[in-house]
Symmetry: C2
DNA sequence: AAATTGTCTATTGTCGACAGTAGACAATAT
DNA sequence: ATATTGTCTACTGTCGACAATAGACAATTT
């Protein structure tokens, strides 16, 4: 399926990457006219892109003043991860019964691969695999509303994870933490699944929030 | 605090009310130029308003084709309510310990008032009180991320509730259903709170989905 | 008749320009 | 020196016009 990308879509992509790369720093104002000149398009598609980024939660908007790169407080970070944990935990508990041996094997395999990628310092691939892991869990879940929310949260998380990941977990821990999730799914105990996934995210949220706090001093 | 409303904000309000009133029907295309002429403003603020409505989930957008009033399938309806139940259930369980006798009394009072409003057929006030009820529960909860999601879902729910509410519950049932939530909060049993609120929403979601299904035949 | 192609039209996508305002800074008054 | 007021500037808000395109419909081909 081919999809013609409008300028707006390309601008969204561009800004997102600039933020990821750190070329646009938290709290920094994103000036429409500047970008317009830089990218060689008019302000209209820039504005539309910014609106989208606002709804994604990556840009904060103050009427008549401007658009600013989001600057997450430690509390915001914890909130983002917590919310993600609540939603994904519920989703996983709903679809757990769909998982047979094959699917579980595949998930366990991913856990190992995560360790390898972490050992090799391949953070981009690690994040991609993380996405794949979560998508695999959601594969059979058809609550598009909930999934849309988790997608938003996922993008937001990446922002922080890509910055702090080396300080978070050892490669072995990454593997074990995800295996724990698969174990829970295997148990088919819905309560356990929810709890495990919630904790998975809350732990990471707390860690990153702490790092951010220390850095903010 | 005074807030200057931009045209965009007023247009959002206008379109939302048109949808609520049924002047804009599901699946109907919202044409920028039409609205522009009707409201006497240029297309720019109209477009911005539409973007916002898209992010609120009230308008669906097909690139290069147009903006359409959302047409929720029965499944979508159930999903919306389910997601809301998951999020609000968790939130309520988190803040339950903050509720003392005063707060609980107030909540019980609201339940009674809901019955009265339902008996009088005052659906607008009923919806407002419903919001107040939920806001009261969230008062001490500071996960802005989660609250933002529930706000979105709440707006979406209103769309359906305002259409179907007379067919959903008897005045007495409305009171009892909400009292059950307060009872759960009073118990301080976090698990029970989550479960109660989830069910509260899922039940309504299922009912509305069913009504929608029958109507769609 | 059915399928393909071409044309037209209504609608969205983008543009450049101007209007209005928030915030900074200078000028003035106390 | 501090507080108030006025001015300026850079930015967002809005505008009207034009470009591009999806979808409908007509013309053409088989």
């Amino acid at each position: 399926m081919i999809q013609k990308a409008t300028y707006k879509d390309q601008v969204v992509e561009f800004i997102y990457k600039e933020i990821l790369k750190g070329n646009l720093k938290p709290k920094e104002q994103i000036k429409e006219s500047n970008l317009s000149e830089t990218l060689g398009v008019s302000r209209a598609p820039i504005r539309e892109a910014l609106r989208e980024l606002i709804s994604m939660g990556l840009v904060e908007y103050v009427p008549r003043v401007g658009n600013f790169v989001i600057d997450l407080t430690p509390k915001d970070i914890l909130n983002t991860y917590t919310t993600r944990g609540v939603l994904e935990g519920y989703a996983a508990s709903c679809v757990s019964k769909l998982f047979g041996k094959n699917e579980l094997e595949k998930l366990y395999g991913m856990c190992e691969k995560m360790r390898h990628l972490a050992e090799g310092g391949e953070n981009v691939k690690l994040i991609d695999l993380g996405d794949e892991f979560h998508n695999a869990i959601f594969a059979g879940y058809d609550n598009t509303q909930l999934v849309k929310f988790t997608d938003t949260l996922s993008i937001k998380s990446h922002l922080m994870f890509s910055k702090y990941w080396p300080k978070l977990y050892l490669p072995n821990q990454i593997e074990q933490r995800h295996k724990k999730i698969v174990d829970a799914i295997e148990s088919k105990d819905r309560q356990k699944i929810e709890k495990t996934i919630r904790n998975h995210y809350i732990e990471t949220g707390e860690k990153i929030a702490k790092l951010k706090e220390e850095e903010g001093v």
